[in-house]
Symmetry: C2
Subunit: 314 residues, 2 copies
């Protein structure tokens, strides 16, 4: 059985054949050109799929999309980074172009499924994957199956509230994990502390170009024992820990896999994160060694989209 | 097939045959005598089960217990209201006494299963049940099946954090739903406002015996348009709404069923609760008419325990 996977992002998309071991064959990456009309993007996706397939007969294609998906129809509810993708029937349109079965999945859910089957979640009963980047994405996999809810709002942990009385948040909710732990929140946390005149090497690391400041600068500073930088990660970790523990108390996963660009911070994030989760689970023990980095990097979503269509295609 | 259900609480326990329509036969209620040695309580439960069974051959018994249960073994991790119930093998001990198959379930999970199969959750794809009382209990049912996690921590929503930086909480976590919306939290919210000298009929309704103040007094005052009482319910509802929306963003349930003694407040709780959930789900719409009162009252747990053993007994 030959399966194609696509991981569609706001900047680029990646297409590949994914074999039964989760390995990529003929992978290619193209620019998304996110401002193009949606029909043009569909055509470009279909062209790339045909190019990757070459002479091979493809049985099905799974595509991960940056937005919530209606479970039954494969309609994308909205994708904030793609022009015109509101109630967009991505599955039907791709099927028209390509002729073989298509399954659509949210990109963070796809990454979770990829890590669960071929990555850091492989031998776990159940896992939460959090993808830390511009936003906070997530997916939950229980005994190999994606937790897929009633209407496409499942495992959108970026939008849970961990500060119920905050004035702002994300996706219409208040005091959310994404508004407190997304890329901009981490950078702003550092800027607020620097604005207060605390001594730090962060300004030096970003050449005093604060509009260019990234979480990577802050993690490099923390590795050099910069107190301000460490405090930024400690606070970020404390909030993330609340979100992780909330998920443990809701669906009781065995493992937590952390991926995405921000997770590259490594030890300066993971150490305070494990400590904070431990502090919140003193009654019901959670084994904090089960909080682990993702393994598949940027391929998790592509691999997971292929797992998804394989499970849904009989 | 004849199935027995038991709902074991800190004050009383109830035993009954539960028929295939969720109806009770020969139900009886006894005092738990929570301070007795655990073996004596087991013996009293077994005696009551034999009495209810009479001449009928019983195929299996399901028991709902006020504490987390290890999914595989039926061991109760701990039951704060029962003497000596720590790592307590309630299933094995009852089986020794009675000789037929026993399944053990957390009481809030049992109530959710009861409401899902025979009560307010009957025709829903998936539901969250919250039981508002001394504590905040919960259970999640997806397509008729209990969401049962890896280690017995699943659907313990009373212990999720909605105020991550609070100094106190419940079950070792901080700023939890239970610490902010349990019975005592509601009463204390009222007392704090009254202590501030605000005009209210609450003191009159409890005969100025503030140690006797109950959520019922506060709901009666709110029904008579007492501003302070209404504010107590509005704040309680705002916090509960954060917890409900968090669950929607985690497992994406179709319906939310609210039961337990505190839910008797009715309209003064449900109206602000629906408004607050609506305000938090402006992007991903949640149909707030799906937030409904429980239907089975005190029998939910008993009926659900019987559903549970029937599903686990083949």
């Amino acid at each position: 059985m030959s399966i194609l996977g696509i991981d569609l992002g706001g900047t680029t998309f990646k297409v590949s054949i994914v074999d039964e071991h989760g390995q990529l064959q003929n992978a290619l990456e193209r620019d998304t050109q996110q401002h193009d009309p949606p029909e043009e993007l569909i055509k470009r996706l279909a062209d790339a799929a045909r190019e990757v397939a070459g002479d091979q007969k493809i049985d099905a294609l799974g595509i991960g999309v940056p937005g919530p998906i209606r479970p039954d129809s494969g309609v994308c509810v909205f994708a904030p980074n793609l022009n015109g993708w509101t109630e967009f029937p991505v599955g039907d349109l791709l099927r028209e172009q390509l002729g073989f079965p298509i399954s659509v999945i949210n990109d963070a859910n796809a990454a979770a499924l990829g890590e669960a089957h071929f990555g850091a979640g492989r031998d776990a009963h159940s896992m939460l994957m959090m993808t830390l980047g511009t936003g906070v994405g997530s997916g939950i996999v229980q005994q190999g199956k994606l937790l897929n809810g009633f209407s496409g709002r499942g495992a959108e942990l970026g939008h849970i509230s961990i500060k119920y009385d905050a004035p702002t948040g994300s996706a219409g909710n208040f005091g959310t994990l994404e508004s407190e732990c997304g890329r901009d929140a981490i950078i702003n946390r550092a800027l607020r502390m620097l604005a207060d005149g605390h001594d730090s090497i962060i300004p030096e690391l970003c050449d005093h170009e604060f509009s260019e400041l990234t979480p990577e600068h802050i993690s490099r500073a923390a590795e050099q024992n910069d107190t301000i930088a460490q405090q930024v990660w400690d606070e970020t970790a404390a909030i993330l820990a609340a979100g992780i523990v909330n998920t443990v108390y809701t669906v009781d996963v065995e493992r937590v896999v952390i991926g995405g660009g921000v997770s590259a911070a490594g030890k300066v994030l993971f150490d305070p994160l494990r400590r904070a989760v431990l502090a919140r689970t003193s009654h019901y023990k959670f084994d904090v060694n089960q909080i682990v980095p993702a393994k598949l990097g940027n391929d998790a979503g592509l691999v997971g989209a292929a797992v998804w269509v394989k499970e849904n295609f009989r």
